[in-house]
């Protein structure tokens, strides 16, 4: 648990700092108490006990200072995209001196809505609390009928994004995206798509493709897996007609030639990726699986501005850019009003397509 220890060391250090300050204030009164206790009981026993109690008290008083400068909720299990985003922010913030002490807390469950609900209620008005989220959360809030939505927190900025990639196994008869769309138009049920969880970005993208191709999105044959990884096995084994997920999930297989990349869901062709966009094939579909950071509800304008400044410092830092490169994430930083508008647009578009797929009433 070295990381834990390291965190703890730092916490202890700051706690000692705080304790040192407080100890000065407490010591005189402690001495008085002690003297009084010694007078009452010369054997020193109760005095010791009192000293002990007093030190616990001092510790308890110093406890708020033990809390990290920033606490980031990753509303998912360790290992997933949100967890990695939160831990990368932690590393960069500490390395760049934006915040000396950052903690990551995992609150997994239900597409992030459990973490979101907990965050909105427990961290209200706390400027040191942040939560990582993303496009998947937008869908999950709708499908799970979550009572807490992104309106109940303070969205700060979009940080990273990844475009969707549509692949088929190398042995597939579909050579181009056009072939696949033709098959979809002919018999939507016969084209099975493997991708991540139901109602997630992958599912939504397939719904949008069907809609743009004039096929009823309710008729799509979407096979949900717990993630792009598990879906990958089904695609490689040619159990399904096609696969859809973030490009990173398929990259190494595409390079090795075991999967054929048919299209990507970006506005324009992506650098270094040899595939047309969905738009080029005549379907007006652009989907990006983005990740964001939000602050707690009930912050004052100054507090909000402070968080915004810290996040801006984060994304502009060299080590953040370095991390993006090694992880293969696109920098899609967008903050302020522009982000609020984009978010509102995404929420209403998602709600629309989820209704058409039949996941939301």
């Amino acid at each position: 648990m070295e990381a834990g220890d390291k965190d703890r060391e730092e916490t202890v250090e700051s706690a000692q700092g705080a304790l040192g300050l407080r100890a000065k204030a407490i010591l005189p009164s402690l001495n008085v108490q002690r003297r009084a206790a010694e007078e009452a009981a010369p054997d020193g026993g109760p005095a010791l006990k009192q000293f002990f109690l007093a030190s616990i008290l001092a510790g308890a008083m110093a406890l708020p200072a033990l809390a990290a400068d920033y606490k980031i909720i990753a509303p998912a299990n360790p290992g997933g995209g949100w967890d990695q985003t939160a831990r990368t922010i932690q590393t960069v913030m500490q390395a760049e001196g934006i915040s000396s002490n950052v903690q990551v807390v995992n609150v997994p469950g239900a597409g992030g809505t459990i973490g979101l609900a907990q965050f909105a209620s427990q961290d209200k008005g706390n400027p040191g609390s942040l939560i990582v989220g993303g496009y998947v959360m937008v869908g999950a809030i709708l499908t799970n009928k979550s009572p807490v939505t992104l309106k109940d927190v303070t969205p700060i900025a979009r940080l990273t994004g990844e475009y969707e990639a549509i692949v088929v196994p190398a042995s597939s008869p579909f050579q181009t995206f056009g072939d696949l769309v033709e098959a979809l138009k002919k018999d939507p049920g016969a084209v099975s798509w493997a991708g991540g969880s139901a109602g997630g970005t992958d599912h939504i993208a397939v719904g949008l493709i069907a809609k743009a191709a004039g096929v009823d999105p309710k008729k799509i044959n979407y096979i949900a897996y717990s993630g792009g990884g598990e879906a990958l096995a089904a695609i490689l084994g040619a159990q399904v007609s096609a696969g859809i997920s973030g490009y990173g999930e398929f990259e190494s297989q595409v390079k090795a030639g075991t999967l054929r990349l048919l299209a990507v869901s970006s506005e324009e062709r992506l650098e270094g990726i040899d595939a047309p966009t969905i738009k080029e094939s005549g379907l007006d579909v652009v989907v990006q699986n983005w990740r964001m950071i939000a602050a707690a509800p009930g912050l004052s304008d100054e507090q909000k501005a402070a968080v915004n400044a810290d996040i801006e410092k984060l994304v502009k830092s060299a080590s953040w850019q370095e991390q993006l490169k090694t992880k293969g994430w696109q920098d899609t930083y967008l903050a302020g009003n522009a982000f609020d508008e984009q978010l509102a647009q995404d929420v209403s578009a998602t709600e629309g397509i989820l209704k058409e797929i039949g996941l939301v009433e």
Partner: protein
């Protein structure tokens, strides 16, 4: 260079003093974390990841390997001694292991688990080195219908562990299957049986249920008996070490467990628990001491523990060859690879052989280190059982609660722990077996999802389930396992069979 030379080179890298130190740290942390119920290897590796930014790739991967194997091993210790499985793959170990521990044979149980883990880890790691590309091709043949057939086989064979009353066993199983329905349905994204409670949306955590049923239920049961409790816990009877008979009875289960665990671990949707279930069922069928099953049969510890560790190595097959993480820990290891700009996948063996073989070599080293670390500790661990019963069970209660809170800090989770503990207590009183509930919770969703996926892909054509040779073969084995005992019973050999199926709880 050929495979063997690469491996030798990897061993040289892993055997450098600094790397040995990393392996030792990893193994120690992994074991410690595996012992705690709730805090799994995934969280530990996630916490360690930032630290390893400063290490070289070899050093950090070696530490990961140590944590991974250590975590898999550590879970068995609490299972055997305290009946508190540290993670889901060591649930089966608790069945026989804890009975052995109470009969004063905790030492041999821990030893067979440790040595079995070593043997399985050794064979499986070598298998990973030499046959990974082949295994992964076989694993990809498995689509939804094959997985469904595998789950049917698991259901049928595991039901032999349900005790002598089929009705009670099935009742317990269906309790588990019902609990498995709770939460968001993966295929449609809709919530089932969650009654609008957000905490239920993600379903019931297997470790929470297992710890509650086994540890809390048992504690209540013992406490309710007061002084009338018949079973005296004997810390040590005979030797702490394995005797000749233990060895003779352990080595075959080790090998069988490895043979079952490795390929199932290598399957993208296999999972470590399935291997342990199948291994337990196999040992129960093959044993020459059927009367001991349910009362502490060493085969029932040796086989599943070997299967557990073999599947840990198996998990690395899809990770290294496909870049496909099938467990949370593997997902974090993938993140670890990526931080060095490595993309695991079909090209990794070709582009970064040094690193891959370094990892495989460090798995071998970690495996050896686990044995060295744990065998001398057995004498110490067993002393745990000499703690007076009230203290011991109070400790178990505290331990189980802390583990659950540690994994999921929510009041609701704690409430579930207590509620399932009570359920476990009531089931014990009325003689219902506990294990099928946990089995239902694990296998239920897997079987359901695979069946529905298979039918969705075939657009509702049910014959798809028997349209592949692998699926047909698995279903035939399952049918044989179901029908042969019935035929034998009909021919008047029911007495032997009911002995075979002696109650496990």
């Amino acid at each position: 260079m050929n495979t063997f030379e690469f491996l030798m080179q990897g061993l040289l890298v892993a055997a450098q003093p600094m790397n040995l130190l990393y392996a030792l740290i990893g193994v120690t942390l992994g074991t410690a974390v595996g012992v705690l119920p709730g805090i799994g290897p995934a969280l530990t590796v996630a916490l360690l990841l930032p630290v390893t930014y400063k290490l070289d790739p070899a050093g950090s991967l070696i530490m990961f390997a140590g944590i991974y194997y250590g975590g898999m091993y550590g879970g068995s210790t609490t299972s055997i001694l305290l009946n508190t499985p540290g993670e889901s793959a060591s649930i089966v170990t608790a069945l026989e292991g804890n009975k052995m521990a109470r009969a004063g044979r905790g030492g041999p149980a821990l030893a067979t688990a440790a040595i079995g883990s070593f043997v399985a880890g050794l064979i499986a790691t070598l298998a990973l080195a030499f046959v990974a590309p082949f295994i992964v091709k076989v694993a990809l043949v498995f689509g939804p219908r094959e997985y469904f057939a595998l789950m049917v086989l698991a259901f049928v064979t595991v039901s032999s562990a349900f005790g002598d009353s089929t009705l009670r066993g099935l009742t317990s199983l269906f309790v588990g299957l019902t609990l498995a329905m709770i939460g968001i349905d993966q295929l449609s994204g809709q919530a089932r049986l969650s009654f609008g409670i957000p905490d239920l949306l993600d379903g019931i955590e297997v470790t929470t249920l297992a710890v509650a049923m086994f540890a809390i239920g048992e504690t209540l049961y013992i406490a309710a008996q007061g002084d009338r409790g018949p079973d005296k816990v004997e810390a040590v009877k005979g030797s702490v070490w394995m005797n000749a008979a233990d060895w003779a009875r352990s080595w075959k289960p080790w090998l069988r467990g490895t043979a079952i665990g490795f390929p199932i671990g290598a399957m993208p949707a296999g999972g470590a628990e399935i291997g342990t279930f199948l291994s337990y069922a196999a040992e129960k069928r093959m044993t020459k001491h059927p009367e001991e099953f349910g009362n502490g049969a060493i085969e029932g510890v040796a086989g599943p523990e070997a299967a557990n560790n073999a599947s840990a190595a198996g998990t690395l097959v899809p990770l290294l060859t496909l870049g496909l993480p099938t467990t949370a820990t593997a997902a974090i290891m993938l993140a670890g690879f990526q931080q060095y700009g490595l993309q695991p996948g079909p090209l990794l063996f070709a582009t970064n052989p040094q690193l891959v073989w370094g990892l495989i070599a460090s798995l071998l080293i970690a495996n050896l280190m686990l044995l060295v670390l744990n065998l001398p500790l057995i004498g110490l661990w067993v002393k745990l059982l000499t703690i007076p019963r009230p203290w011991l069970y109070a400790g178990i209660l505290l331990f189980a609660t802390l583990g659950t809170i540690g994994a999921n800090p929510s009041v609701f989770e704690l409430g579930m722990l207590l509620a399932f503990g009570l359920l476990g207590y009531v089931m014990r009183i009325f003689g219902y077996p506990i294990a099928p509930v946990v089995v239902g919770l694990i296998l239920g969703p897997l079987a359901e999802q695979q069946l529905r996926r298979a039918l969705a892909i075939s657009q509702g054509d049910i014959t798809t389930l028997v349209a592949s040779p692998v699926a047909v073969a698995l279903l035939l084995i399952a049918a044989a396992a179901l029908i042969i005992p019935l035929v034998l019973r009909a021919r008047g050999r029911g007495l032997v069979l009911s002995q075979l199926a002696a109650s496990e709880d």
